[in-house]
């Protein structure tokens, strides 16, 4: 009985070792091996119709992509390639299974499956987008965290949809398109917040985060500890105000460009139809939860953009001059001054009228005296 136990243990060990060795053959395929061939711009395959299709993958662009940055191996996606046989002209099966983004991006796929895009696809609409139709070539998908609202819209929605043809009910639609991402209204369950991006008024362009941290002589990681002087984890109005002279000294005239963006989140793939936010007060209200989350966004060259929390009240201060939403970010001090102006007019009229009424006997007496 004891010998039997050892025998089973031996079999298990052998099986595990074989599994490991077998798996190793696929793990061992390095991206560099794939790029030995696919890194050649002339790499093509012939199609049945006589034309050719490129099989080239730009190594630099792949390395800069979100997949490259996260060390995703070619064979993680092209999983039907388990080994390379260099004795063959093509060292892997010629016919490969399609790439399934959902193998890794399951939450995104689930949100997409609920979307108007997936439903249109199910009904046979070939124009309805799949992953690649929005994200383009999956070899080069870049992080879009650093992209502005306009860049995100141009890279995705606007490629198929012309928003100016719709939204007739929306006042100042172009202003809305400029400052609010499509998915803010057209995507359910996704977190929305305000981005404040340093903007150079002279150059009429956004200031890269690298320049900001350089001027402040800090790094992206140490930015908060440098700027958040009271260490409450939030950039307060006085802390933001203190930055201005530093930038002016460096020859930069920055303002903060505000925009309404969604968090890069799987839920943003659930684009809805007929359920878009049409209630103005969802945003245009001092109680709107969207404006309780405000971040200073510093962009990195790789497309990432660290978000640093900002006191939401800053939006209502006089220090953020280039971002304003009706109701939501109204400046309280103006209401106080306004009330004084209004009461001044009423008090003048009321006071003068009261005196006129009180002095009626004086005028009456004078008239009678005449």
């Amino acid at each position: 009985m004891k010998g039997q136990k050892w025998k089973w243990l031996f079999v298990c060990l052998i099986s595990l070792s074989l599994t490991f060795v077998f798996s190793l053959s696929s793990w061992a395929i390095e991206n560099s091996e794939c790029l030995d061939c696919h890194g050649d711009p002339d790499m093509v395959k012939e199609l049945p119709n006589g034309k050719t299709a490129s099989l080239y993958v730009n190594p630099d662009k792949f390395a800069a992509s979100v997949h490259g940055q996260n060390d995703i191996a070619c064979t993680d996606c092209h999983s039907s390639i388990t080994e390379l046989n260099y004795e063959e002209e093509v060292p892997h099966p010629i016919k490969l299974e399609g790439v399934h983004c959902s193998d890794c991006h399951d939450e995104e796929a689930e949100a997409y499956s609920e979307s108007v895009h997936a439903k249109a696809r199910e009904t046979g609409n070939k124009k309805a987008p799949t992953c690649q139709m929005c994200h383009t070539n999956y070899h080069y998908v870049r992080p879009i965290t650093a992209d502005t609202v306009t860049e995100r819209e141009n890279a995705f929605c606007v490629r198929c949809h012309d928003p100016s043809k719709f939204h007739e009910w929306l006042p100042q639609k172009e202003t809305h398109f400029l400052y609010a991402e499509c998915t803010v209204c057209h995507s359910e369950g996704v977190e929305k917040h305000v981005h404040l991006r340093p903007f150079d008024l002279i150059k009429n362009d956004f200031i890269p985060g690298t320049k900001i941290v350089k001027v402040l002589n800090t790094s992206f990681d140490d930015f908060m500890s440098k700027v958040d002087t009271n260490k409450n984890g939030i950039l307060d109005i006085p802390e933001l105000r203190k930055l201005r002279p530093i930038f002016k000294k460096a020859g930069i005239n920055p303002t903060l460009w505000g925009e309404l963006a969604v968090k890069i989140d799987p839920a943003s793939h659930n684009i809805t139809k007929g359920q878009a936010i049409k209630d103005c007060l969802a945003c245009h209200s001092s109680e709107s939860p969207i404006f309780k989350k405000v971040f200073l966004v510093l962009t990195k060259p790789d497309g990432e953009a660290p978000h640093y929390p900002v006191d939401p009240y800053a939006l209502r201060s006089v220090h953020i001059t280039h971002f304003y939403l009706l109701d939501t970010t109204r400046v309280s001090i103006l209401d106080i001054i306004g009330l004084i102006i209004l009461l001044g007019g009423i008090a003048f009229a009321g006071g003068h009228l009261t005196l006129r009424i009180l002095t009626i006997p004086v005028r009456k007496k004078r008239k009678e005296g005449k």
């Binding site: 172009e174 103005c280 971002f323 109701d327 103006l334 102006i341």
Partner: protein, 207 residues
């Protein structure tokens, strides 16, 4: 009772279009600014009507301005040095003391000179400075994306909005004061009647 034809038909039309327009702009403006607290109409409708009425007032004001400039009538809004220094004081003393004692109004309107020195000075600022600023800021805020370079040049959307809002409060206050001051004719309704019929009545004993 002396009767003077003070307000010709076009002036009366301009006045009442402006009056109704400004009143509605103030009301819709209040709804726009306080949409989260005021609910007499939706924000969307308030913005729509504020824009429509804003353009009517803009057009109406433009016509009035051109007419007054090209006919030279605009000079009625410019007080002379004497009026500015002595006239305003004289008129202010009348409104502050004389009117309560029953003193005669030191100013007598004529068709060519229908504003007293205080009115001239106030209207010069209101009609030639504040109204144009309000129209201009309103125009910029009507389409921020289109006018963004100008808005940015002026200091940003919040700055332009602040000017527009402060003037909104001013005009709200002005409506109260203007309405009250209009009751200071020889009877409380005399000036109102004049702005409807065109004929201002003035007691003979005032002369």
């Amino acid at each position: 009772m002396k009767r003077i034809y003070l307000h010709p038909v076009p002036v009366r039309i301009w006045h009442w279009v402006h009056a109704l327009g400004i009143l509605l702009l103030v009301l819709t403006g209040a709804q726009i600014r306080y949409a989260d607290h005021v609910h007499f109409m939706s924000l969307e409708s308030a913005v729509h009507w504020h824009n429509v009425i804003g353009f009517i007032v803009l057009f109406d004001f433009f016509l009035w301005f051109c007419f007054y400039v090209f006919t030279g009538r605009i000079k009625t809004y410019f007080p002379s040095i004497e009026e500015l220094i002595h006239g305003t004081v004289r008129q202010a003393i009348f409104y502050g003391f004389g009117v309560f004692r029953g003193d005669p109004n030191p100013f007598h309107a004529t068709p060519d000179n229908k504003f007293n020195p205080l009115q001239k000075t106030a209207y010069l600022g209101i009609v030639l400075i504040l109204v144009p600023i309000q129209i201009l800021t309103g125009l910029l805020l009507w389409d921020i994306a289109q006018f963004r370079p100008i808005v940015d040049f002026l200091g940003g959307v919040k700055v332009v909005d602040a000017v527009h809002v402060l003037l909104f409060f001013f005009f709200a206050s002005f409506i109260c004061a203007h309405f009250y001051l209009a009751t200071l004719g020889h009877t409380p309704w005399a000036h109102f009647k004049a702005m409807i019929t065109g004929w201002e009545e003035e007691p003979e004993e005032g002369h």
